[in-house]
Structures are given as structure tokens and as C-alpha cells.
């Protein structure tokens, strides 16, 4: 009575096929990651040295190191985060914890999601108009960082809001019900339980901010500037633009140089992520139980 019908056999075959197909697709995802890292290490590994990291480029960028670009990118990322993270978290808190559910809130949410889809070159033009010209920052670290901040804001807001909404509603009810204000509820219960999700969003933004080229090209990143920036009103070199330049714009660059730059850029992003993840783990552990 438990013999498989032809229909059962057909379904079983299909089940196996679909499973293998999905597995293949997953493997296909891992492949580019391994290939990228492999190629970079194979071709760029020989360029790496302490001098490469800690000296300035020489001989028309065909020799020397990339210190100014490295330092420049750190400036850009740090300032962009200082601007976008507090604003983004505050906005997400308002949208998630305070705003009533009406058409205006829904319109704002829609706008934020659309803003996250605006191409980075459009953000670049906005940055030129707003920060370089209108606010008079000139082409500078400040203007470039603000442009990056505007670009990352919507993603910070969306990921923070998702982290906040993952906190069970019953926690909030428990607090309100004991007479807690919304802010007390946020500080004592909502934020401690969503901080790791919020940080995950920020970590993703660090990588994107460090890697973007278009938004900084017109607003503050320099082609070749072999000094360290002295203030936020200086222009600076940046890793992403430097990679573009040595890979396509400069003649007679040794083969391993662009790959070395890319390797350092990726290493830098991974290092920043590692710091954020360590911070997140520390926060989680600090929560006693």
C-alpha cells in the first residue's frame, strides 16, 4: 500500500534536480569571491611591502607607495560615518518608534528606499552642487565626505529601521505599560537589543564608502597629491580613485602595482569590518546574560 506512484517518482526526481540546481547557484556565488582574492594575491602580492604602505608614490606614480591614498580614504570614511551614522540612526528611530503610521510616513519610507537606489554618480553631481559650491567647502575632504554620507544615509536608515523592528513589540508594551516614555523605552530596551543589527548595517556601509569612486571624484579626491592632508579643507588622494588612476590613466605602471593597490583596499575594508565586528561582539558580551 506504500508503493510509490509514478507521480511520486516524478516529484522525487524533480525535488532532487531543484536541490542540485540551487546548490550549483550557491557554489557559483562563492566562485567569484575566491577568484577575485586569488587573482589579487597572485598578481599583487609581490607589490606589497612596508614601503608600499608607508611611502608616497614616486616617478609619476609608477613606483613608491600609496600612503596618501590610504590616509585619505581613512579620513573620508571616518568623517562620512561621523555624519551619516548619528543622523541615520536618529531618523530610523523616529520612523520606527515615533512616527504614526500614515501616508506621510509611508511616503518618507518610499523616498528613502528610492534614494538608496540613486546611482552614485548622481550623488557626485549633487555633492558638487551642494557641498563644493553652495556650502562653499570647495573640493575638499569635507565636501567628499559629506557626499559619501548623503549616499550612505538611506542605507543606514533602512538597515537600522529593520534592526529596530526586529525587537519584539511586546518588549515595548512591557515598558510603556510600566510608565516608561518612548525615549526611556528606546534607551533601556530597544537600543540594547538592536545595536548589533544596527552595527551590521554600518559595517556594510564602511565597505561601500571606502570603495566608492564616483562621489569623491569631483568633490575632493585628487589625481596625484603626494602629501598627507593637513585639514578637512584639503583635497586628498583616495584608494579607490588611485586604483582607477594607476590601472588606466598612467603609462608604464608595473603590472603588479594596480593589483597591489586593490589588495590593500580590500585588506583595509576587511580590517575596518573586523574592528566593527569586534566592537559588536564586545557590546553583546557586555550585555550580562
Amino acid at each position: 500500500m506504500f508503493d510509490a506512484t509514478p507521480r511520486n517518482l516524478k516529484d522525487a526526481r524533480r525535488e532532487g534536480l531543484v536541490r542540485i540546481l540551487f546548490l550549483l547557484m550557491t557554489a557559483l556565488l562563492v566562485l567569484p569571491v575566491l577568484l577575485i582574492l586569488g587573482v589579487l594575491v597572485a598578481k599583487g602580492g609581490s607589490a606589497l611591502s612596508w614601503d608600499f604602505l608607508f611611502t608616497e608614490p614616486t616617478d609619476g606614480m609608477t613606483a613608491g607607495g600609496l600612503l596618501p591614498a590610504l590616509v585619505g580614504t581613512i579620513w573620508l570614511v571616518v568623517i562620512a560615518l561621523i555624519v551619516s551614522v548619528p543622523i541615520g540612526i536618529a531618523a530610523a528611530l523616529y520612523l520606527s518608534e515615533y512616527a504614526p503610521d500614515n501616508w506621510l510616513t509611508r511616503a518618507i519610507n518610499l523616498a528613502i528606499i528610492n534614494l538608496a537606489g540613486v546611482p552614485s554618480i548622481v550623488h557626485a553631481l549633487f555633492g558638487v552642487g551642494a557641498f563644493v559650491i553652495f556650502f562653499g567647502f570647495g573640493t575638499s575632504i569635507l565636501a567628499a565626505s559629506f557626499t559619501l554620507a548623503v549616499m550612505t544615509l538611506p542605507v543606514v536608515i533602512v538597515s537600522t529601521r529593520e534592526a529596530l523592528q526586529a525587537v519584539p513589540q511586546s518588549f515595548r508594551e512591557a515598558c510603556w505599560n510600566m510608565g516608561a516614555t518612548r525615549w526611556q523605552t528606546i534607551r533601556k530596551v530597544v537600543l540594547p537589543n538592536s545595536i548589533s543589527g544596527i552595527l551590521t548595517g554600518v559595517i556594510l556601509e564602511v565597505s561601500r564608502t571606502a570603495g566608492e569612486t564616483a562621489p569623491i571624484m569631483f568633490t575632493g579626491a585628487a589625481f596625484f597629491l603626494p602629501f598627507l592632508p593637513e585639514s578637512v579643507y584639503d583635497q586628498t588622494m583616495a584608494m579607490s580613485l588611485h586604483l582607477f588612476v594607476v590601472a588606466t590613466q598612467v603609462p608604464n605602471v608595473p603590472d603588479n602595482l594596480p593589483f597591489g593597490v586593490a589588495l590593500v583596499l580590500i585588506g583595509m575594508v576587511l580590517a575596518m569590518n573586523a574592528i566593527s565586528i569586534a566592537f559588536r561582539t564586545w557590546l553583546r558580551r557586555k550585555k550580562k546574560w
Binding site: 511586546s170 512591557a174 515598558c175 505599560n177 510600566m178 530596551v189
Partner: protein, 254 residues
Amino acid sequence: MADQSPAAVEFADFSLWYGTFQAIYGVDLAVKEGKITSMIGPSGCGKSTLLRSVNRINERLGYVRTEGHVRVLGHDVYAAENSLVQVRKQVGMVFQRPNVLPLSIRDNILFGHRLHDGGKDAEDALLESALRQVLLWDDVKDRLNRRAQGLSLEQQQKLCIARLLPVKPRILLMDEPCSALDPKGTEAVEELIWELRGAYTILLVTHNMAQARRASEECVFMLMGKLIEHTATDQMFVSPRCPETADYIEGRYG
């Protein structure tokens, strides 16, 4: 505004709308101080809504509109001059599912106390007395700093009741407090509710008529957003006045 009636909670011609849907129709009800009053009725009859109007926890939904008055200890909770925080201090609420906070047992119990700037010195005494009142002290006294979410559901629900006590509320609202519990847990929590009568005015929403009968002194029957009958529990289950009440109690709908 002085009030002669000894009612702990009083609804006066109270109506409530969710958007355009009217959930409560002109309810008049005086809940006697120090008694356990159960609210019964079929699903969607407005009993939970009515309960949630007392501490205004409905309002976070944003599209709630009310008419009429709800007075707690003689003061209109919807009046602009009354602080919602102070109202909620007097009116504690227990939910269907135990909603312990992801904190230690100690921090859960003292959460409200700390919120209202209670002194540090009193904490240990308050902690013990709250846990003793809900018959939980012996179970948890050795693990006060462990996370509260590790407790059984029954213990969690008792903890949720205990958590309300340090801020000294006068009224406890309970919204089907046993519906997530097994029969043994239900019995334990019912016993606890019975123990608390007199010290607190308790409003208990339940879909379980046996529970209303066992664990309450007064009983309110609601149907389609209207209050149908309010009498002593014994009387309601023996000789209900209204035919609708009789039909419901005898299980002809529900």
C-alpha cells in the same frame, strides 16, 4: 474632582473607534475597588479593547478615537491635565503572553521602580516582597541575576505580575493572562490572582468561562462592543438576567 462612588475604574458612556470601525458602544461600568472583575464575551466583543482603554495602551496604534470618560480612582485618564505616566503607574497590565524583558530577573522586577527614580536602598526589599507576593521567591531566590527568559512560561507570567508591584499600582489589568499557559500553570496563576484580591483591584479578561467563574467576584458580559450584563459572578452563572448572557454561558455561541 471628587467622586463619591467607590469605583476604582469607571466607564461613563465610553465609546471607541479604530478608524471608522466602532469597537465600543457607550459603555457604563463601575468596577468595584479591591474586587476581581472578570470580563467575558465572544472573540471581538471589545473586552480587550475596553481593558486597554484604562491605561490608554491602545493609542500607540494612532488611529484610535474615544468619546465619553474613563475614570481611574475618580480621575479622568483621558483628561489633558493628567499625566499618562502617572496613570500607568497606578494601572499595571499583564498581557496574554508573558513579556519579560531580556534582562535578569532582578532587573525585570526593578525596572519600573528604577524608571520612576526609586531609591537604590529599597531595591532588595522591594525585590523580595514582589517575588514573595507572586509566590515565586522560593523558586528564583538563588538565581536573581540570571536571565528572566530562562524561566518557565508560568514563572514568566508570575514575574510579569511581580514586575508591576514595586511601583505600587492600585489596579491590575489582565488580558487573558493564562492563555499561553498549560493547565497546571493556569491553575497556579489563577490561585495567585485570587491571592491578590483585596490588595489590588483586578480586571480580568478571559475567554474561559470556567476561569471567570473560579477566579472572579464580579463578572461583566460583553457582546458586539456593548456591555450586556454586570453582576456578581455567582449570580451571572446561576441566573443571568439577559437572554444573550444565558445563551453565551450555555455555549450556544462563542
